[in-house]
């Protein structure tokens, strides 16, 4: 008797969680991938920074504030409040755009040939995954509620114009921006995942 009840409950849970499970699985994969990318970006940045002279480092700090990343045009929530206010779809789309923005420039990340080779395909894979998630979560007519989020500014030209200049400063900026954007995507995806999971406790 008890066994039967248990079995039924498990089955019901399984059935109910069936569609969400798939999404959750995809989310989990996406979160894990972006997490790894972020770690990679962090490592690259740290290595680059350590290779710099103290004098150069000071100069870079001063300059850095004046520059901005290519992905600044992408409006993204910058605090928790905004993030939680955004819908899952918005978050996913932003993430998608961020990843996409780095597909091309990641090739110019000159810190180690191995890293350059790894980043670009990983970004492509992640982009595909996010696209899947968008497709899975595109229930509803909220296709493009916020036009701001869909402002696809031409990004490719920005870095291309300056791609020739492989200066130290540029490398530094690239690495810093890359690291930041990866963390953004990670956060957005995590928030979106936790929002979709029925468990109260999101820390799986």
């Amino acid at each position: 008797m008890d066994r039967a009840v248990l079995l039924l409950s498990v089955l019901s849970l399984g059935v109910s969680s069936q569609p969400i499970t798939e999404g959750q699985r995809l989310f989990s994969i996406a979160v894990e991938r972006v997490h790894n990318l972020h770690l990679l970006a962090q490592r690259l940045f740290t290595e680059f920074e350590s290779s710099l002279q103290t004098e150069e480092q000071r100069q870079l700090n001063k300059i850095f504030l004046q520059d901005f990343c290519n992905s600044d045009y992408i409006i993204s929530p910058i605090d928790k409040h905004e993030t939680q206010r955004s819908s899952v779809l918005k978050l996913l789309s932003i993430s998608y755009r961020l990843i996409e923005s780095w597909e091309f420039p990641s090739r110019s990340l000159s810190v180690g040939p191995a890293a350059r080779n790894q980043i670009s395909p990983k970004l492509s894979e992640l982009k595909t995954g996010i696209l899947l998630l968008i497709g899975a979560n595109q229930d509803g007519a909220e296709m493009f509620p916020d036009s701001s989020t869909l402002q696809l500014a031409p990004y490719g030209n920005y870095y291309q114009s300056l791609g020739a200049d492989e200066s130290l400063r540029r490398t530094y900026e690239l690495l810093a921006c890359f690291k930041k954007d990866m963390h953004k995507v990670e956060t957005y995806l995590t928030v979106a995942k936790c929002r979709l999971s029925p468990e109260a406790n999101c820390t799986l």
Binding site: N61, F68, I78, K80, Q84, H183, T203
Partner: protein, 623 residues
């Protein structure tokens, strides 16, 4: 002098500087931002260290600028976080935005800017330690373990996934120094096993965001593990007792069955089962004795069986019945060789000597002869057959022993002497023999005395014949010639060589025949050398008288000379008695029907009979 001045100046300076300090003001020293931290990635706080204040009350101000704009903002909250701190609340905090923060120290005289610091809130997160850490002792199949559980810091929003925390636990015994670290991941519960019974454990937990700093350790939780050692001990005691008991039983069993076990494990070594093998001899180490002991009489069996077929059974010679003996012997002689082995105490076990047909006969004949002789010795009455002494050297050797006592008899009677003489005459050298034999032969009938020759006489061809023998021989020859009995002479001749023949084979010793009486013939060893003329030259001649020419009226056997071996001197036996002719010749033997005796009747034994072998001795026929 100068030095003194310098010293004074120095002193003055020292005196005045504090005074100057106290009175003078200077702009404040440069403050430094020590750190900025965000506990939950929503707010953050920065702390700075002020420099020298310059003797005047100094105020501090913190200005910051966000990366995207040039607007400078001042710290909104100086008090919440304590002294020399600036607290940024949620509204003022932007993530993924670089903050450029500067602290300014200001006093009456001036202000000093600190070095700017760039921070990104995401990377300065250091959460608070986990809260509500609880440790309880649970049991897993009677083995205790610790279960540690906690909660994330209340400020950290892990539920929405805004911040992801990983946890770490460390445990140690109260009296120990080193902590045992455990990484718990994102879970909020952890089990610790392998505890020492009766010990007190200290447990602490801390956490860290995925990109950030480790929090401080939580407050220590104490827990005492109950004693379970006694349970362990009792089990071991039980096992020990049980094993001891089993050990005792095994020992007792082994003791009871020690013998059979010994037999099973270490089986006794079987001893050698070789016939005739003596362990004692082996131990003594005398190899010769051992090997001699191993020699078994009936080995090899096959030869002996064949031997049996070829040989005649042993003769049983017993003293009382001479005649029987003789007869027996005669019969036996025909059959084959005798097993002389038994008769002679010859250590030489080589029966091969008997293997050859001829030799066998010879030897048997010899053996028989020997036997006869021995018997005669004992008895002293038997007439002995003529035995060819030319057997194996071994046999011949026995001759002297056999015949040594003979001389006793020789001196008995004149007749004996005469017979001896006669006998001597028989010794051969061929040509001489002839006449001698014939003469003897002839003389006998002439004299009509058989005594001279007797029914049996032995003719022995001795190597060393005395010249005196020859003499009679010559005389005999002459006599013979005188008789002009051709046949006889021929016979004699025949006989002579016959007698000679035997020595051909083994011209080693000759025995003198001495007739004691009619029936007894004594043999004496002849010391004298052989009649050279007679013996040696005759030896090589292979003449023998083996063919019976005929029987004369006197029941004499006439033998003709044949180139055959003949052992029959006895052909001369001119015996009135029927002589059985033992002239067996290999070629053709015609035995006389006449029982004319050959000299010998009983006494004649023959050793060899019928053997017409040069090797054989002239043997008187026996029958």
């Amino acid at each position: 002098m100068k030095k003194v001045v310098e010293v004074i100046l120095l002193l003055l300076l020292l005196v005045f500087t504090p005074h100057a300090k106290g009175t003078g003001n200077s702009p404040p020293g440069k403050p430094t931002l020590t750190r900025c931290r965000s506990p939950e990635k929503e707010t953050f706080t920065c702390w700075w260290e002020p420099g020298s204040d310059g003797g005047l009350p100094t105020t501090f101000a913190l200005y910051y600028r966000k990366e995207t704009s040039e607007t400078v903002y001042e710290c909104p909250d100086y008090h919440t976080a304590g002294k020399n701190s600036c607290f940024f609340n949620k509204n003022d905090t932007s993530i993924w935005v670089n903050y450029n923060i500067t602290v300014v120290a200001t006093n009456a005289l001036g202000s000093t800017f600190s070095d700017p610091v760039d921070i990104d809130v995401v990377y300065i997160v250091k959460p608070n330690p986990p809260e509500r850490v609880t440790v309880i002792v649970l049991e897993d199949k009677s083995w205790p373990f610790l279960r540690v559980s906690w909660e994330p810091p209340h400020k950290a929003d892990t539920r929405s996934g805004w911040i992801t925390l990983v946890y770490q636990i460390r445990v140690k015994l109260e009296q120990e120094k080193d902590w045992e670290m455990h990484h718990a991941g994102q879970q909020k519960m952890f089990n610790i096993f392998s505890l020492r019974s009766g010990g007190t454990y200290l447990v602490q937990v801390r956490c860290k965001p995925d990109h950030g700093f480790w929090s401080e350790w939580s407050s220590t939780s104490y827990v005492k593990v109950p004693d379970y050692f006694h349970r362990e001990k009792s089990v071991w005691i039980l096992i020990a007792v049980f094993s001891a008991f089993i050990f005792l039983i095994l020992t007792w069993l082994l003791h009871m069955n020690s013998r059979s076990l010994k037999h099973c494990i270490l089986p006794p070594v079987p001893g050698p089962k070789i016939k005739g093998f003596d362990k004692q001899l082996l131990k003594n180490g005398k190899s010769e004795e051992i090997f001699s002991a191993l020699v078994v009489c009936d080995f090899p069996p096959t030869t002996s069986s064949n031997y049996e077929d070829l040989l005649v059974e042993y003769l049983e010679v017993y003293v009382p019945e001479e005649q029987e003996l003789m007869l027996e012997e005669s019969k036996d002689l025909h059959d084959g060789c005798l097993k002389s082995e038994s008769s002679t105490s010859d250590s030489d076990s080589g029966r091969g000597s008997c293997d050859s047909h001829t030799l066998l006969m010879d030897k048997c004949g010899e053996a028989k002869e020997e036997e006869r002789h021995t018997d005669q010795e004992r008895m002293g009455t038997e007439a002995e057959d003529m035995v060819s002494p030319d057997m194996s050297s071994g046999r011949v050797k026995t001759w002297p022993s056999v015949f040594s006592p003979l001389p006793q008899y020789s001196s008995n009677t004149l007749d004996e002497q005469s017979s001896l003489e006669m006998a001597k005459q028989h010794y051969l050298s061929d040509s001489l023999f002839l006449p001698s034999s014939t003469s003897s032969y002839l003389t006998q009938p002439g004299h009509g005395t058989k005594e001279a020759l007797g029914p049996s006489y032995w003719e022995f061809c001795l190597s060393n014949k005395q010249p005196h023998l020859l003499h009679p021989q010559t005389q005999a020859r002459q006599q013979l010639q005188a008789h002009s009995d051709v046949n006889i002479s021929s016979i004699g001749r025949k006989e002579a060589p016959a007698c000679l023949q035997s020595p051909l084979l083994r011209p080693t010793e000759y025995v003198e025949v001495q007739r004691v009486n009619e029936d007894i013939v004594l043999l004496q060893p002849v010391v004298s050398g052989c009649g050279q003329n007679n013996c040696s030259p005759q030896m090589p001649q292979g003449k023998d008288y083996s063919k019976v020419k005929g029987v004369d009226s006197d029941n004499k056997l006439l033998l003709q000379r044949e180139i055959m071996e003949e052992d029959r001197c006895p052909c001369e036996h001119q015996e009135t008695n029927g002589v059985r002719e033992n002239c067996y010749m290999s070629s053709a033997v015609t035995t006389t029907q006449k029982p004319t005796a050959m000299l010998v009747q009983d006494e004649m034994v023959l050793g060899v009979n019928g053997y017409v072998d040069t090797a054989t001795m002239c043997t008187p026929p026996t029958y």
